[in-house]
Structures are given as structure tokens and as C-alpha cells.
């Protein structure tokens, strides 16, 4: 039987509190039985502390460790590295609770707690997460302090105060380190499995798809423009991908391995901006019509869309540049021409016939486009909840239902033009964006998803044609939200979204401000490595090692100097005991006459010394000493004696 190191009661409580605080946010991700096991271990440890039971035998602990280890591996699987590591650590962590004999065991628990608190941030990086983890760090530090606090004066709140006094000055130091310490890339590749099934555009488009997105007010991406101003609403076409192949019902985005050849000469003003894309689970990157170049690691495909090397699973930033209008273009190759003309062999015969009849009258691209748009403007209506379409979806839409939204219009227009022999493609992306005036950026949300067409004009290149504009021009000029808010399916997935309450001005302001805060948080904290160089150059001029060292040293010494000043000058509240306080006062008065009380001198002897030097004070100082001793060593009658004692001290001071 090992000797049991009894933590003080506050130290034990702090350990338990710390474990709960660290466990809480992880518990939803862990296998359900692991938090239960931790709580079981907590209870057991508490029971041991109360003396109701003893620590488990080593064989029991061994069995528990083996079972927990196997259980974790079986329920998580080896594929998810970080989750598995965290769960295993947690299993060890909870079992270690049953093994706190010495201070060293408590330290192991506390250090692992620091690590586990940090791993929480791998799974969530919002401002709330960060605040919670900061709170947990304070609690863990309190637990660490409680282990070292005096056993003679155990106190529950003192460690918390000590911890706050340690962590608060550590924060500015942390900020300095955060700003200055250079970031390096990953040392080995360690993928993080993130939540799947993101909303957003997919690589197929059947006419009803886009309406699925109007149900969501989730953010797709945010954009900051270098000139600080957004382009006009009618130019806010964010291209993501093109759908080139039609199988009779659905349009598919074909993978195109060839890269975009930029034309030799380009004109038109360049618009530079920074796009912060939310995880979409898809590789495409949205850019304003038309992007001019692809920054590393993106590729610009032949259809002039940008593609990331892998699916986007975390929030990412790209610095892009686009031209809103351009008159230069590369001629279409024969293969590309073929690609943008191909249609299924049969089906939708009525639409084909219509296209051919138009072509027979006037084969020019301009007139074909104009006739199609005129048709839409004359007879069609815009709705988010159109009737279902049959097998010949294009025919049904064009001749029977005649109602729908962007997907329907874009796919039918593309079909008609291709049937008439004009290369055409559908573009998937977003149209619009809401300007946030607090941090000057544009937010584009899922319900702003849009589909439109691009038509090849001989001599002009690809020209954007948005058939929806012919039916509902307000969709382009106004925000999607204004247009859609009357539609039944709008925001059905997020009924409590603040976007819904945009007409209430304070909610709107609050929403904008919150989003702005999130955006700043992302830009300046979560993706700080992208801005570190610029910031340091702004702060230090040319960045040299010497300057970095100074940049670290000067703020450090300032903060530490401030802490040291506070520590060394810090005053404890005056002695609380009025009896001692009075004695101190008395001794202070005598000090100047060389009659101060010597360290450790008994009060009786001190009184004698004073009486010898000042016989006139002998009676009153004698009374003081007698009452003092009564107060200290006798029992009963304290309030009365204390009153008399204080009166005697006052009298003595007065006589002096």
C-alpha cells in the first residue's frame, strides 16, 4: 500500500474543476462512454478523498486502461488521427485521476490538461472557443497554483486570484510573441477530418438545385477590396464553375485539365481583392467576372475559373484580381467549340425545333439571344417553388410550366442556343453580396447562389447573358434577400437567421457588427500568418533579426517592469485585527523616541522597558500590557476587554 498524498481540499477541488472544464467542450466529440468514465473517476477520487473507499488496486487500473484504450480505438477508428489522439489522452487523463498520490501525479494531470485545452482549438476557432479556452487556462493555472499553495492556509479562492494575477500580465506578452514570432509551415502532413455535407454549389446542376441554397443564410465567402469600395450590384457576378455537359436532365461540370491561356494584351481596369472563403467541401474558388490570374496554389482552368488543389475544408484566404470588362479574348479551339455545342442525341424535341426555326430566320448570335430573352420576358415568371418537371425537362419548362428560377432559365437558354449552333455554357456562382460598413467588406451568403449563361460571340469572345434578368431584373439590381423574402422557401433551413429580421434596424446593426467582428477575428488572428509580413514591415520597416529581437524585448521589459512594480509595491490590507493594529500604532509613536517594539519582543517586556524609560507612562502602559495579555491568553469577556484595551492605548498615545 502506497502512502497517500492528500491534496488539500481546495487543491483537489481545483483539479476536479479543471478536469470538468477541459472535458466539457470535447465531450460531444468523444465516444459517449468516455466522459461517463471520466465522471466515474472523478466520483471515485472524491470518494477516496472523503475516506469512504480506497484507491483501486493496480490490476483494476490496468484492466480499465486496456479496456478504455481498445474501446477508443474501436469506436473512433484509426483514420482520424487527431480525434483518436485526443480521445486516448482523455482516457489516460481520467484514469490518472485515480492515481494522484504525490504532487508529481497532480502535475502530470495539470500539464496534460493544458495540452488538451489547446487541442480544443483544432476543432473550433471561433471567438467564443478562444474565450472559453482562455477561461480554461485560468482554471488550470489556478489548479497548478493550488498544488503549491501553503498547506497551512488552504483556501479555495486564493489560487483563482493568484492565477488571474499571473495570466493577466501574461496576455500582453502573449500578444507580443504572437505578433513577432515567425510562422513556419507544417512539419508533417496531418489532415484534420472536418464536418462534411457543407451547403454550397455542387458539380451537377439540375434545375431545382439552386432553390435548395436559398434556404440557407450561411456565409459562402467574404471579400475585401483593395480600393475599399465594392463594385456596383450589377457587376457582382462571382464565378465558381461552368456546367458543360447535359445528359437530358442534369448539367455536369466536366473536369478540364487544360489551363487558361491568357490573351497577349489586356485592357480594362484591374480590381484587386481578398476573398475569404468558408469551407465548402469543393475545390472551386469564387472570383469576380473575370479573374486574370491564379495565385499559388490555385489553377486557372480553361473556362477561366479558379480551382484549389484540394477540397476546401477550412476557411482560406486568396488575394485575387479581376477585370470587370475586357475586350481581349483567346479564340475557341475546335475541341472547345465541340464541347460547348454538344447536346444529348434525343429528347426535348420541341425546344430543338424552336431553336432551329429561330436560326432559320436569323442565324446571328445577337438575334438568337435577343429572341430567347424576349420569350422569357413575355411569358415567364420567377418563383422559388416551381412545379415539377417531367422527363423532357426543357420542353416542360419552356412550353408548359413557364415558371422557375435561375437554374431553369440558364439551362433552357443554354439548350436553345446550343441547339441553334451557338457555343454556350452555364456558369454557377453567386450574384450579389451585402456590404458591411463596419469593416468594409462584402458578405456573400448561400441564398445568393445563382446560375447564368455565357455565350460565345464571334469577335467578342464569351459574353455573359443572364436570362433571369429578363424575367426578374430586380434580382440583379436589388439584394437577393429583398427579392426572395416574399418567397415561401426562403431561409427555410435557418428560420431564426438574423438576416430574416433585416428590417429591424438594431438587429441588423448587431448582425453586421457581429459579422464584422468575426471577419476581423479571422483576418487578424486565425489567418495571421498571411498578414504577418505586411504588419511587421509596417511596424518595423525592413524586418531584420535584430529588429525582431528588439520588438520582442522592449514590450517584454515594459510589461515585466510593470508587473514587478505592482508586485514589489503591492500592499496587503492593513492588519485586520484591531488589537494588533493598536499595538502597531503605539509602537510607531514610540519609535521616534528610540522605544519601538523590537521584533518578537513580548508585550509584557516591552511595557517594562517603556516604564523604565518613561516612569510617567508606567501605569497606563502597564494597563495596556495587562489587557493585551488578557485578550490574547484568557477566555471570555473579550468585547469588553478589547474596548478597555483600545481606550488604554488611546490614553497612552495622548499622554505621550
Amino acid at each position: 500500500m502506497k502512502a497517500v498524498y492528500q491534496l488539500t481540499r481546495p487543491a483537489l477541488l481545483w483539479q476536479l474543476l479543471m478536469v470538468v472544464a477541459v472535458l466539457l467542450p470535447h465531450s460531444l466529440r468523444l465516444p459517449w462512454w468516455l466522459p461517463l468514465m471520466t465522471f466515474g473517476a472523478l466520483g471515485w477520487r472524491l470518494w477516496v478523498y472523503l475516506g469512504r473507499t480506497s484507491f483501486p488496486h493496480w490490476s483494476v487500473k490496468f484492466m480499465m486502461a486496456v479496456t478504455a484504450g481498445i474501446g477508443v480505438i474501436m469506436s473512433i477508428g484509426r483514420g482520424n488521427g487527431p480525434e483518436l489522439a485526443v480521445a486516448l489522452l482523455f482516457a489516460g487523463f481520467s484514469l490518472k485521476l485515480l492515481e494522484i498520490y504525490k504532487r508529481r501525479d497532480a502535475l502530470v494531470l495539470i500539464y496534460v490538461a493544458y495540452f488538451l485545452a489547446a487541442t480544443e482549438l483544432l476543432f473550433g476557432q471561433s471567438l467564443l472557443h478562444a474565450l472559453y479556452v482562455a477561461l480554461v487556462l485560468v482554471l488550470i493555472t489556478a489548479a497548478l497554483n493550488s498544488v503549491y499553495q501553503s498547506e497551512r492556509h488552504p483556501d479555495f479562492w486564493r489560487p483563482l486570484r493568484a492565477s488571474i494575477r499571473l495570466v493577466l500580465p501574461a496576455l500582453p506578452l502573449m500578444v507580443v510573441l504572437f505578433v513577432v514570432v515567425p510562422r513556419i509551415g507544417p512539419i508533417w502532413y496531418a489532415p484534420l477530418a472536418q464536418g462534411e455535407a457543407r451547403t454550397g454549389l455542387s458539380d451537377t446542376l439540375s434545375p431545382g438545385d439552386v432553390s435548395r441554397l436559398t434556404g440557407s443564410s450561411e456565409v459562402a465567402f467574404r471579400v475585401q477590396f483593395d480600393n475599399g469600395r465594392p463594385p456596383p450590384p450589377s457587376s457582382r457576378y462571382w464565378r465558381g464553375l461552368t456546367y458543360d455537359r447535359f445528359d437530358g436532365r442534369r448539367w455536369e461540370a466536366e473536369k478540364d485539365r487544360s489551363l487558361f491561356q491568357s490573351p497577349d494584351s489586356e485592357s480594362g481596369t484591374l480590381l484587386r481583392y481578398n476573398i475569404t472563403q468558408e469551407p465548402s467541401g469543393q475545390p472551386w474558388v469564387y472570383a469576380l467576372d473575370y479573374p486574370v490570374s491564379a495565385p499559388w496554389p490555385l489553377r486557372m482552368q480553361a473556362n477561366q475559373t479558379l480551382r484549389a488543389p484540394a477540397k476546401i475544408r477550412q476557411r482560406v484566404d486568396f488575394a485575387l484580381a479581376s477585370r470587370l470588362s475586357s475586350d481581349s479574348f483567346q479564340p475557341l479551339t475546335a475541341a472547345q467549340r465541340e464541347r460547348y455545342l454538344v447536346l444529348p442525341e434525343r429528347g426535348n424535341e420541341r425546344a430543338r425545333a424552336l431553336a432551329l426555326s429561330w436560326r432559320a430566320e436569323d442565324a446571328s448570335t445577337e438575334s438568337l439571344v435577343a429572341r430567347a430573352l424576349a420569350l422569357y420576358g413575355r411569358e415567364f415568371s420567377y418563383t422559388l417553388t416551381p412545379e415539377r418537371l417531367g422527363d423532357d425537362s426543357i420542353d416542360d419548362f419552356l412550353f408548359d410550366t413557364q415558371e422557375g428560377f435561375c437554374g431553369h432559365f440558364a439551362s433552357s437558354l443554354t439548350f436553345l442556343l446550343r441547339a441553334a449552333g451557338v457555343p454556350t455554357r452555364i456558369v454557377g456562382g453567386y450574384l450579389g453580396g451585402e456590404w458591411n460598413p463596419y469593416e468594409n467588406y462584402l458578405v456573400v451568403r448561400q441564398f445568393e447562389a445563382h446560375a447564368w449563361t455565357e455565350v460565345w460571340h464571334q469577335g467578342r469572345g464569351w459574353v455573359r447573358v443572364d436570362p433571369t434578368a429578363a424575367v426578374a431584373p430586380e434580382r440583379i439590381e436589388q439584394s437577393a434577400e429583398q427579392l426572395l423574402s416574399s418567397q415561401p422557401g426562403f431561409l427555410s433551413d435557418t428560420p431564426l437567421s438574423p438576416v430574416r429580421f433585416g428590417h429591424i434596424s438594431w438587429i441588423n446593426t448587431l448582425r453586421m457588427r457581429t459579422d464584422a467582428l468575426n471577419f476581423v477575428w479571422h483576418r487578424w488572428v486565425l489567418s495571421y500568418q498571411l498578414r504577418q509580413n505586411d504588419l511587421l514591415q509596417k511596424l518595423l520597416g525592413e524586418v531584420t533579426l535584430w529588429k525582431l529581437a528588439l520588438g520582442l524585448l522592449i514590450p517584454f521589459s515594459l510589461v515585466l517592469g510593470w508587473v514587478a512594480l505592482g508586485l514589489l509595491r503591492q500592499r496587503r490590507p492593513k492588519t485586520k485585527d484591531p488589537v494588533d493594529a493598536a499595538l502597531l500604532r503605539l509602537s510607531g509613536r514610540f519609535e521616534s523616541r528610540g522605544l519601538g517594539r523590537k521584533p518578537g519582543e513580548p508585550v509584557g517586556r516591552y511595557a517594562q522597558r517603556i516604564a523604565l524609560a518613561r516612569p510617567d507612562l508606567a501605569p497606563i502602559i502597564g494597563t495596556v500590557a495587562r489587557l493585551y495579555e488578557q485578550l490574547r491568553y484568557a477566555e471570555g469577556g473579550e468585547p469588553r476587554i478589547q474596548k478597555a484595551y483600545l481606550a488604554a492605548v488611546r490614553a497612552c498615545v495622548r499622554q505621550l
Partner: protein, 322 residues
């Protein structure tokens, strides 16, 4: 091997630290005296911060970087806290009680907070002795009793005083070595043996003397207020006979001499030890005893003060006065 080395290194460091300052009765700790260095736990803490930093680097997670930086900063801030947990403390040597060689002498120190600050979880110890922990929390001064084993008779010093602290986070240890001017008197180690030549060790005594004393039980009397509670006759009280006090008397004793020349076969130290044994034995018996040493004699007497005088003479025999 490594332990021996670290001990030797420690001893050297101590000698160096002590050599810088003269012993004093009272002194205040300042940065000239306080040393500070990370503990093993502190190095592990830094290791934990490093592991978290690696996590941050590998997942390019700036918040994890921040956690690592918080830990590093905590370490730096706690340097100041640990240091200030010693700085400004005033240590005053108060007194030392005599003891026998081989026993622990009690030393009393007074700790006083500088500028009314809190000091928590201080450890005080003499070299290689068990430490005593102490705090100054809401308390401007505190007496501390420390014990050290006496090795040799005569006046002796307990060696250097180590004051150390791990507070607040155990990451660093701040310590200081002080040489106090406290010295304790060690009486010779009593060694049983021999007989007093007159054969009086067994204690024949004279007639019962007058007066109330505290030595021998003489009878019971009714307990009255003010009598020492130690003299209450619990047995009688338990038997329901009422509250009585035991009455003690001192005897008017015989006079005995402890003489240096009693045991000529022993060497000096052994002789002192035997004399010490007999002095202690006689002090517990109702006799008056005196001491004759080559350098002088102490006339027979009784009581604590006399006993101390006798033992002190034995302790200091042949030793120069301090």
C-alpha cells in the same frame, strides 16, 4: 554518482553564496541574495509549451500558437512572482535552546514581511535537515522554530540556513542561503555507567523537609481554585471521591559531589559524558549536587538553573569561551 556530483556542486555554490555576506542577526532579502532557477517541473512545463507549439505549427493553427505563447509568458511572469515571494523578507535570529549532543536543538527565527506583503509556502531548513514550511498571509510577522542536530559539545552553529520557495506555480525555485549568528550550547552526550563512589546514586535521603514542593508525592488535599490542574488527582476524582489535589514536597537533601577524579580510567570526553549522565540523574532526584572540575567547582544546589550551570560547565570544559 550524479547525486554525489550535484551535492558537491551544491555545496560549492552554497559556500560561494555565503562567502559574499557576513553572518548577521537580522537581514532583509534583496536581489543580491536571492537566486532563482527553473525546477524540473518548470522544464517539463516548457516542454509542454513546446509540444503545444508543435501542434500549432503542424496544423497552422494560430490559436494553438497563442496557447503555447500564454504558457511561455506565464513562465516568464512567474519568475517575478517567485522572486517577489522572497524579496523584502526580513529574517531575524531570535534564540537557540541548549540540547544534548545527538539531540535536536531548537532555534527560533522571526520572519517579517517587507512592506506588508504576503509570503506564501516558504521552506526553511538548515543544511541537510528536514525543512519547515511557513507563510506570512495577512500577518506581518511570524516566529518559526527550526531544529538541528548537535554533533559536538560546546557552542556550535547549525550551519547555513536555506530559505526557498516554489510558489506560485512550482516552475521556478527561488532560494537564499544565510549564515545566522545563532549558536546553541550542546551538552555532552550522557553515557550511562559507573557508580558514584559513595554509593549514593540510589538516593538515600534525609528527613522530610518542610515546605511545599513539586518533587515527591506527599498526600492529597482538597482542590482549590488557582491550584495547578496538573496536580488534580484524577484517580480519586474518577472514584467519586471529589476533587482533590496531590500534595508534593521537596526534601531537604543530602549534598553530593560529582568529581572529575571519580573515573580516572576514562578519557576526557568519556568522563564528561559520564558526569553528564550522573548530573542528569541526580537532577531528577531529591538531592543537592555540586560539580568539581579541574578548572573550578560549582557548589551543590538544585533546580533548573543549577542544572544548566552544571551541564554548561561540562559542555564548555576545555573549550575557549565563544
Amino acid at each position: 554518482m550524479s547525486e554525489r556530483w550535484s551535492r558537491r556542486l551544491g555545496a560549492r555554490a552554497r559556500r560561494w553564496a555565503l562567502g559574499r555576506h557576513a553572518p548577521a542577526r537580522s537581514l532583509t532579502l534583496t536581489q543580491k541574495r536571492i537566486f532563482i532557477f527553473p525546477t524540473k517541473a518548470g522544464l517539463w512545463f516548457l516542454f509542454a509549451a513546446l509540444v503545444i507549439l508543435l501542434l500549432g505549427i503542424n496544423y497552422e493553427n494560430n490559436l494553438v500558437y497563442a496557447v503555447s505563447f500564454v504558457l511561455l509568458s506565464l513562465f516568464v511572469v512567474s519568475i517575478l512572482h517567485t522572486y517577489s515571494n522572497l524579496a523584502g523578507l526580513t529574517i531575524t535570529a531570535l534564540s537557540a535552546k541548549p540540547c544534548l549532543v545527538g539531540e535536536n536543538a531548537e532555534f527560533e527565527l522571526l520572519l517579517r514581511a517587507g512592506r506588508r506583503r504576503n509570503y506564501e509556502a516558504l521552506q526553511l531548513s538548515w543544511v541537510d535537515q528536514t525543512p519547515v514550511s511557513c507563510d506570512l498571509i495577512d500577518d506581518s510577522e511570524r516566529r518559526v522554530r527550526l531544529y538541528a542536530q548537535a554533533v559536538e559539545r560546546g557552542w556550535w552553529r547549525p550551519g547555513a540556513l536555506l530559505i526557498e520557495t516554489l510558489y506560485p506555480l512550482g516552475l521556478l525555485r527561488a532560494w537564499t542561503w544565510l549564515e545566522t549568528d545563532l549558536q546553541a550550547l550542546a551538552y555532552p552526550r550522557p553515557i550511562e555507567g559507573g557508580l558514584l563512589p559513595q554509593g549514593l546514586g540510589s538516593g538515600e535521603r534525609g528527613s522530610v523537609a518542610s515546605g511545599r514542593g513539586s518533587e515527591d508525592f506527599a498526600g492529597l488535599e482538597t482542590y482549590q481554585q488557582g491550584m495547578s490542574p496538573r496536580h488534580i488527582a484524577w484517580k480519586q476524582l474518577a472514584a467519586g471521591q471529589g476533587l482533590h489535589a496531590k500534595q508534593f514536597v521537596d526534601h531537604a537533601d543530602e549534598q553530593l559531589w560529582l568529581d572529575w577524579s571519580f573515573w580516572p580510567e576514562l578519557d576526557t570526553e568519556q568522563r564528561l559524558s559520564r558526569l553528564c549522565y550522573w548530573a542528569l540523574k541526580l537532577a531528577r532526584q531529591p538531592v543537592q549536587y555540586g560539580l568539581r572540575l579541574p578548572g573550578g567547582e560549582i557548589p551543590p544546589g538544585r533546580g533548573g538553573r543549577h542544572r544548566h550551570q552544571v551541564l554548561r560547565a561540562l559542555a564548555l570544559h576545555g573549550r575557549a569561551a565563544p
